[in-house]
Symmetry: C2
Subunit: 389 residues, 2 copies
């Protein structure tokens, strides 16, 4: 019960802070006396701070405003992309306080090599975060592939060439400092991207949506009533492998005619007559210049996306579809074709709006770091025990 109430206080301040003790009490339905006791514990534990007119030596003045600590636990997020690695540290208020990244050629690479490089970046960001007065409380890693539910095993990441890679074996505690390794979690990048949308999108963002993003592959995630749908094995949301052409191009997943083969980065570059190395920025520049082949390729990708989304809307009837990652960057050229296709296939009924994420390519990285912060807000006693140890 105490655990739950401590968490309620933190979530109230996270969502609506700064708040006075009385305002917290009003929001969570506890007495002001009970809230004061909880706030004192959270302040001593380094999770809450008092803002404003506090005098030295006074703790817990009822009138002063409470905020989450900027010097408390931090979430470390990491992203293993096909062509880059990134790590960041986010404080309890959700601000990025340290960040490092490097270009990398991770396609068909040995997990050990990639994960040693990732561990270097993690150590660098961890050191920077500590210099800022933060205490890393855990590491969450976003990967482009299927991740086993409640485990740190990448079951299959075709674009990395990985199969059954247990990240906890490759990212040992000794290598990067024990503080980080109190918690290692691994999830699909699209899942973290969707959670970032949920947590960082503000009060008006949908709580019931399908998130679609693209880097090399097409990622997807389903959020229902504010909860990520994981699926029985952890594999839910694989929108990139929904078939859109019955006997279409073979796909790295083993299937045929998957959406990824028509709206993934490589497919679009190929359709535009460009090489894989030219990448999205170049594609975007040419689209902005009105290059006919590029515009045609993007229209084709948008239509394929619309056909897949027609299936998704029929199946889930979500509040919204959110486009993230490269799909957000390309949305001015993709979206008209996608919307036309949806309108054509769902003419007879109302359906979900399509919205474009404002998080861009950072969604998965931020979502990973924020998942650690959410863990602290959900289980503050554990974070405070870590502090006193």
């Amino acid at each position: 019960m105490r655990q739950r109430n401590l968490s309620l206080v933190l979530h109230a301040v996270a969502a609506h802070g700064p708040l006075s003790r009385a305002e917290v009490a009003g929001r969570i339905g506890l007495t002001r006396a009970a809230v004061s006791t909880l706030v004192d514990e959270l302040t001593r534990g380094g999770l809450l701070v008092e803002l404003g007119r506090t005098r030295p030596g006074t703790v817990g003045r009822p009138g002063s405003a409470l905020a989450l600590s900027e010097q408390g636990p931090a979430g470390l997020g990491a992203e293993i992309g096909v062509d880059h690695l990134a790590v960041c540290a986010v404080d309890l208020r959700g601000r990025v306080r340290a960040r490092a990244e490097r270009a990398a050629t991770n396609r068909d690479s040995a997990p050990g090599r990639v994960l040693r490089r990732l561990a270097e970046l993690v150590r660098r960001v961890e050191a920077d975060a500590k210099r800022e007065g933060l205490r890393p409380a855990g590491l969450a890693v976003a990967v482009p592939g299927l991740v086993a539910r409640d485990a740190a095993t990448v079951v299959r990441a075709p674009n990395l060439g990985w199969q059954d890679v247990d990240l906890s074996r490759w990212l040992p505690g000794e290598a990067a400092g024990p503080a980080v390794w109190t918690g290692l979690s691994v999830d699909n990048e699209a899942n973290f991207g969707a959670l970032a949308e949920l947590w960082l999108g503000g009060a008006e963002s949908p709580r019931d949506f399908v998130h679609v993003s693209a880097e090399i592959g097409i990622g997807g995630a389903v959020v229902l009533n504010g909860e990520l749908l994981r699926g029985i094995r952890g594999f839910a949301g694989e929108l990139g492998h929904v078939p859109v052409r019955a006997e279409g191009h073979p796909c790295a997943c083993g299937g045929r005619g998957c959406l990824e083969q028509y709206a993934g980065e490589e497919a679009v570059l190929r359709a535009a007559g460009m090489t894989a190395g030219e990448g999205i920025p170049r594609l975007r520049a040419r689209a902005a210049d009105g290059d006919a082949a590029v515009l045609r390729a993007l229209r084709g990708a948008g239509s394929a996306l619309g056909a897949a989304l027609a299936g998704v809307v029929n199946l889930l009837d979500p509040q919204a579809v959110v486009l993230g990652g490269a799909l957000a960057e390309l949305s001015p050229w993709l979206l008209p074709a996608t919307e036309r296709e949806l309108a054509r296939r769902l003419a007879a009924r109302p359906y979900s709006e399509i919205v474009v994420s404002t998080l861009g390519r950072d969604g998965p990285l931020l979502g990973a770091a924020h998942s650690v912060v959410q863990g602290v807000l959900n289980d503050p006693m554990r974070a405070m025990r870590g502090n006193s140890a």
Copy 2:
């Protein structure tokens, strides 16, 4: 709290009964004294009965076994099919106690005519149920179409030709006796079929599955963690309109290449060179006789179903896919092609098993009636108030 505890007692007896008071107390974690008070109230209210060694005049002997009443509230379920109407009454133990049906040509029919005929059947079943000593506690109607969430409005039922039909306007209380009309609920037939699977499938049935059924159309429903996914408008589960051929046959929904156009009853009959009137029993007989055209048509339907399910499995990663309705009856000929298609498209990863429902065509009707029974188990105070009134 009392409301919740009364419901816990009923659900424990429903799932595991007959149970003694002590066994109920053990299962729901309340004291035996508290359970005795609740049981007395439920017995007085006509929802529970004592079995076995009770003597006249003694109520609530602690040692006797408790069961749900066979003389208490009943759920009335109704089904509006394209070619039939059916109504049944189910007691609290889940047994069908009265039933009536008639063939009907409901395609492109005026709602008023269909619903007047349905009301006649409801009155007949209600009278039969009362003769059995039951008290109808509400009516739930299954329809082949989109139903607005938390309302009794059929937004669109293309095979009936209905649009925005509010059933509560057409099924007024006076027409069929006030007892029934304490509660009218309307839902998509596939939703009720999936709920029947969940409630009647036994302890080992999956709690996380996609349900696919066919009559004239293809219906679908998604159950996640024991809860029906309704979607933001109530339209979730429309598997029949997931596109399986990008530029395939036009569909009554306004789309193109929808699964229903390849695996729905009419599509299969047409592909087998049969007329729509010949129906599933004849199709099955010819399949059993080894008719090559029929077997080919069923293989084609099975493949189309497999392609749609590959998308569903990628998106939801459910524990199981359950085939119901005509798809269950045809499963010996459909399933090999469906499984081949799934295996081909999901070769690289584990995925959900396909199971065949044992409820056959009765799923939606039984699910509708049971939804009323579930309402009584969830809100027994309301049902008991109805009794004393």
